[in-house]
């Protein structure tokens, strides 16, 4: 579904370049639920931004659904995100001036290709909100919702354009454990039912355990990988490659 091939990313801080990612290669299959874990500053958010086409690498390439996106222009990458990518952010990132229903609709409103009517779009949003248990909060604004509710709206929004892949950046970071588990459950459920690939970035190992595969990143390099189960129809296993995860994270 998505692959990073020998990707490096540097930022300029003053005179000297700072290497954040160095020769990272990984691939995530369709329907797979992958967690990228690593400590603060390890480069996991940079890796997510490159995979999602929010940024471009200095070297290497990113291939999303068979298309090289790392050489695309910003607007081309935007279009790719609009049609194939969903996002769940740590701080929810709902648009404060839109209601829950309208927030869920945004990716559909931005799509230039389809010709669905406004009521169709509302219906899609309402169904998604019903799936995340928020039928009664559709016309509420983000500020009128609890953190857990906001993140559930964000989950509904991430899946509204029927994406091929959803990126979740610390989706439980601002939630208590009960709400956090609920949100992960929802993501997991969508992952299973719609065959959507999920890439979860977290520093929470407990959360990562829920993924099919865990990719550990440290100092800008892939430090190891744990396969918890083979996604969907592929059965499950507990294979570990590279250095053991437990040894290298904390």
């Amino acid at each position: 579904m998505i692959a990073a091939k020998d990707v490096s990313k540097e930022y300029r801080t003053g005179e000297s370049p700072l290497t954040v990612l160095s020769n990272v290669t990984l691939s995530v299959g369709r329907g797979e639920f992958v967690a990228i874990v690593g400590p603060s500053g390890s480069g996991k958010t940079t890796l997510l931004s490159l995979l999602a086409g929010l940024d471009t690498p200095n070297r290497g390439e990113i291939v999303l659904d068979g298309t090289v996106i790392s050489t695309m222009s910003e607007d081309e990458r935007s279009r790719v995100r609009g049609s194939k990518v969903g996002f769940i952010f740590q701080n929810f990132q709902l648009i404060p001036t839109l209601t829950a229903r309208e927030n869920v609709r945004v990716p559909l409103d931005l799509q230039e290709s389809h010709r669905r009517s406004s009521s169709d779009l509302d219906e899609i949003a309402e169904n998604l909100l019903a799936r995340v248990g928020l039928s009664h909060r559709m016309d509420h604004y983000p500020l009128q919702l609890s953190g857990g509710e906001q993140q559930r709206v964000a989950v509904a929004r991430a899946f509204s354009n029927n994406p091929a892949i959803v990126f979740a950046d610390e989706p439980t970071g601002n939630l208590d454990s009960a709400n956090g588990e609920g949100v992960i459950e929802l993501i997991r459920e969508h992952n299973k039912t719609s065959d959507t690939t999920v890439v979860l970035v977290t520093h929470d190992l407990k959360l990562a355990e829920l993924a099919d595969r865990i990719i550990k990143i440290a100092d800008g390099k892939i430090g190891g990988e744990i396969v918890n189960r083979v996604p969907n129809d592929s059965g499950s296993s507990g294979t570990m490659t590279g250095r053991p995860l437990i040894d290298s994270t904390e």
């Binding site: 958010t45 935007s78 609009g82 648009i95 409103d109 406004s118």
Partner: protein, 850 residues
């Protein structure tokens, strides 16, 4: 569903929570549009009122005017029109002294003597209503109420007019009183022609305007009749004026006024644009997170542009509509303010054109000024949605878009200036003026930024240092605040400097003048009697001889009149009131040639006894340099003058520069001594009195003994000019304040655009132990400096502008009233500091990030 409609509706939904804030950011455009709409619709109401009332202003379809009694030829021409059904009414207007019955109080007035048919259109409204009719049946007058106040009289009292006494039968309603300056010099008094004749004021050579009003039957075109009689009338030194000519003349003089204040309206609009630019920057900065989320969710740059341009245009339209409403409200008040300066009754009617123009121009200005910060959206990365600390980087250079925007803005300024000025040249001059002022203020702000950077290493107190640092911080608003404060100070101080110097020059004239009282229309046989009355207070008596030019260098004047442009025609056709003397006056300097030599006087000029009806040998004449230029005359040229029928040949031997605004009789043409002594003439006399009581007493004595002699007291002229200037300038200063006040929303929005960074810094400073007072004093330093620099830059610019205006347009001395200019700077500091501190209250109170 149409994809644009979807975006449009997303734009509306996304913007709904921010409407009020965006409207606040756009509020500066409200002031601009309000100024534009009120000025334009006022101008359109004035034009319409002039159109409606121009027949009434003239009183007939045609008017024939002359400075001397009409010749037989003119009367014959007019009489012949009676067969066509043309009706005729006579009137005579002159300045004269009137007094109360015991001569204790006198006043120079504007006498209008009319016959019973005057006027054909409109009516002279009086209180009581029958007054005007009574003028013809008895010796009575209808007067302006100010005259009653001046002389302490009431309706029913007697008024001395020349040799006669008339009863004041009523007062003129404001509509028929003279307006402004004319009224201040001499209130109007209506009387019958019979009463004027009884007064014995019309003597040979008296300054009076004789007029015949014509009412043309409906089947004859007034314009073609005017064309038909013009050659005969003009040959007799009279002028024909039609309603449309009088209308054009009124519109022209009002046009200049409305164009001038229209300039202020446009400036207020442009300042509004600067405010919109800051406001939009603040708005986009607040929307940065939403924009980055939208980009994450797949929005393209174009889609985001559409969303935010839709919101901006929508709110700009609302702001423009609000501005239009405020403009209409102001417009309702303007006729009251303008009643004293405009010669027509202005009725209020909504001018849709002015309204539409104001709204469209306002919304367009808001859009072009908002575009730059909106285009900066390109620099907002989707990465900001996942990295809270991600700062906007200038990843994309907007130089091409910026250049296009610059062209759009300058194109708008030039286009609108030309459109409003009504001429390409004036429009370009005005646009260039704005450009130069804006550039100068921009460079000042850059200089300020550079200079404060130099102070980085100087060991100031921390709060001062940080306040200075705020001026050159990233995304600082130094430029927009300097621009808006500077423009406000510039306008206010230019108007003040101009007014100050004009008033100053009048008071200089007052101090330097040899006398303070001028008497005119003194007949030769009255001279001895007059001198004995005025006695030691008399400084100077000057003979005045009326004449016209009959030929220049042997070419008859009529051929010059045909060949020349309308602007100069006046110089050839006018009546010259000239004098003769052997020395230059204080206000005169010879610019070329030489003053009359006594030797030449004796040889080449005729003695008085020789001035007879035969042509006399060439004498000498000294011309004022301006009129010589208009006539196209140079040294050595020969001019033959028609001195009331007698040809007098002169050679131009010198050209003089004349300071016209000195309080003394000045002349275009000065002849060699004695050459005109026997010509029909009058005298003008200058006297100096020691007190206002002495002035009043002297005026009263002269008015009693020699009633045809009028006098003007310099202090009355000065107070009239001051009064008029105050009325005009208070209206204009009010509008200039508009421009200054526009600076307030500019500052508020500029501050909002950096609020996020400021709050973050304030919290950091407080965390590190800074007190609220310290945070406030950082801001105080910043806004005081902005006020000082903005105000000073504006005042300096205005000094250059006012110097140019006074030196080249008004030909006056220029002086700088430093203390008053300091006051303008203090206003700028006050606005900057008050607005700055009020708008940043939340910053120094902040305990958590917004």
């Amino acid at each position: 569903m149409n994809r644009f409609f979807k975006l449009f509706s997303l734009a509306l939904r996304e913007g709904r929570g921010s409407k009020r804030r965006l409207l606040l950011y756009m509020s500066s455009i409200v002031f601009g549009v309000a100024a534009l709409v009120s000025i334009d619709s006022f101008a359109s109401n004035v034009t319409r009122s002039v159109e409606d009332q121009s027949k009434e202003l003239l009183g007939g379809d045609l008017q024939i005017r002359a400075r001397q009694p009409f010749t037989d030829a003119v009367n014959k021409t007019i009489d012949s029109l009676a067969t066509l059904g043309v009706e005729i009414a006579h009137s005579t207007t002159m300045a004269s002294m009137v007094s109360n019955i015991d001569h204790s109080k006198t006043k120079l007035v504007n006498l209008v003597a009319v016959d019973k048919r005057f006027p054909f259109y409109g009516s002279i409204e009086t209180e009581p209503g029958s007054t005007f009719k009574l003028l013809q049946s008895e010796s009575s007058v209808a007067v302006d109420s100010t005259l009653l106040r001046n002389l302490g009289l009431n309706i029913g009292d007697s008024l001395r007019v020349g040799n006669t006494v008339a009863v004041i039968s009523g007062i003129l309603k404001p509509k028929n009183a003279l307006t402004g300056f004319a009224n201040a010099l001499g209130p109007r008094v209506y009387l019958s022609i019979a009463t004027l004749n009884a007064a014995g004021l019309l003597q040979f050579g008296t300054t009076a305007e004789h007029s015949i009003l014509l009412k043309v039957p409906a089947n004859i075109s007034a314009g073609s009749l005017a064309d038909a009689i013009k050659p005969q009338i003009e040959k007799e030194n009279a002028r024909v004026q039609t309603v449309s000519q009088s209308q054009r003349a009124t519109e022209r003089s009002l046009g200049t006024l409305t164009q001038f204040i229209g300039v202020i309206g446009l400036l207020a609009l442009l300042l509004g644009g600067v405010g919109v630019a800051s406001g939009t920057t603040a708005y986009i900065s607040e929307k940065r997170n939403t924009i980055s989320v939208l980009r994450c969710l797949g929005a393209t740059y174009l889609q985001i542009l559409i969303i935010y341009i839709t919101q901006t245009v929508g709110i700009a339209l609302v702001a423009a509509l609000l501005g239009a409403a405020v403009g209409i409200a102001i417009q309702l008040a303007l006729p009251q303010l303008a009643a004293n300066i405009v010669p027509v009754n202005i009725s209020f009617e909504l001018s849709w054109m002015a309204l539409l123009q104001g709204i469209v121009l306002g919304a367009w200005t808001a859009l072009i000024f908002a575009l730059r910060p909106i285009l900066e959206i390109k620099n907002i990365s989707p990465l900001a949605a996942i990295r809270a600390d991600y700062e906007i980087s200038k990843r994309y250079s907007l130089s091409i878009s910026a250049a296009i925007l610059f062209l759009l803005i300058s194109g708008t300024v030039v286009g609108v200036s030309i459109y409003r000025a009504g001429s390409i040249k004036r429009g370009l001059i005005f646009a260039a003026g704005i450009g130069v002022a804006a550039l100068a203020l921009y460079l000042t702000s850059l200089l300020l930024i550079r200079t404060t950077k130099l102070f980085r290493s100087v060991d100031f107190r921390y709060t001062v240092k940080q306040g200075l640092a705020n001026l050159y911080r990233p995304n600082n608003h130094t430029r927009s605040i300097i621009l808006s404060l500077g423009f406000g100070a510039f306008l206010l101080s230019t108007l003040y400097l101009t007014q100050h110097n004009i008033l100053k020059s009048i008071s200089v004239v007052d101090q330097e003048a040899a006398g303070n009282l001028i008497f005119f229309d003194i007949q030769p046989d009255q001279l001895d009697g007059f001198k004995s009355i005025v006695n030691i207070e008399l400084i100077q008596t000057t003979p005045v001889v009326s004449m016209r030019i009959s030929s220049i260098n042997s070419k008859p004047i009529s051929s010059y009149i045909q060949d020349t442009t309308a602007a100069n025609r006046w110089a050839f056709r006018r009546e010259y009131r000239s004098t003769y003397r052997d020395s230059l006056q204080g206000g005169e300097t010879i610019t070329s040639g030489r003053w009359f030599s006594s030797v030449r006087n004796n040889t080449s000029t005729q003695t008085s006894s020789q001035l007879t009806r035969q042509e006399i040998p060439p004498g000498e004449v000294s011309l004022e340099s301006g009129i010589a230029k208009d006539l196209g005359v140079k040294l050595g040229d020969t001019i033959v003058w028609d001195v009331q029928g007698i040809p007098v040949t002169t050679s131009v031997t010198s050209l003089r520069e004349v300071v016209w605004n000195r309080f003394e009789p000045n002349f275009f043409a000065v002849f060699t001594p004695h050459s005109l002594e026997n010509a029909p003439q009058q005298y003008v006399a200058v006297a100096r009195t020691s007190s206002s009581e002495a002035t009043a007493s002297l005026q009263a004595t002269v008015a009693e003994r020699l009633p045809n002699i009028s006098s003007v007291d310099i202090s009355s002229i000065r107070s009239a000019i001051e009064d008029m200037m105050n009325k005009v300038s208070s209206a204009i200063l009010g509008l200039a304040m508009f421009a200054f006040v526009t600076g307030i929303p500019v500052i508020v929005t500029a501050i909002s655009s950096t609020r996020r960074e400021r709050v973050r810094e304030a919290i950091l400073l407080k965390t590190l132990g800074a007190s609220r007072r310290q945070v406030r004093s950082i801001l105080t330093t910043e806004y005081t400096i902005l006020g000082i620099i903005g105000g000073t830059a504006g005042v300096l610019l205005s000094t250059v502008a006012a110097w140019g205006l006074l030196t080249y347009v008004f030909n006056m001395q220029f002086e700088i009233p430093a203390v008053h200019l300091l006051f303008v700077v203090i206003i700028a500091i006050g606005i900057s500091l008050t607005t700055g501190l009020l708008a940043t209250r939340s910053v120094y109170r902040a305990n958590k990030e917004p």
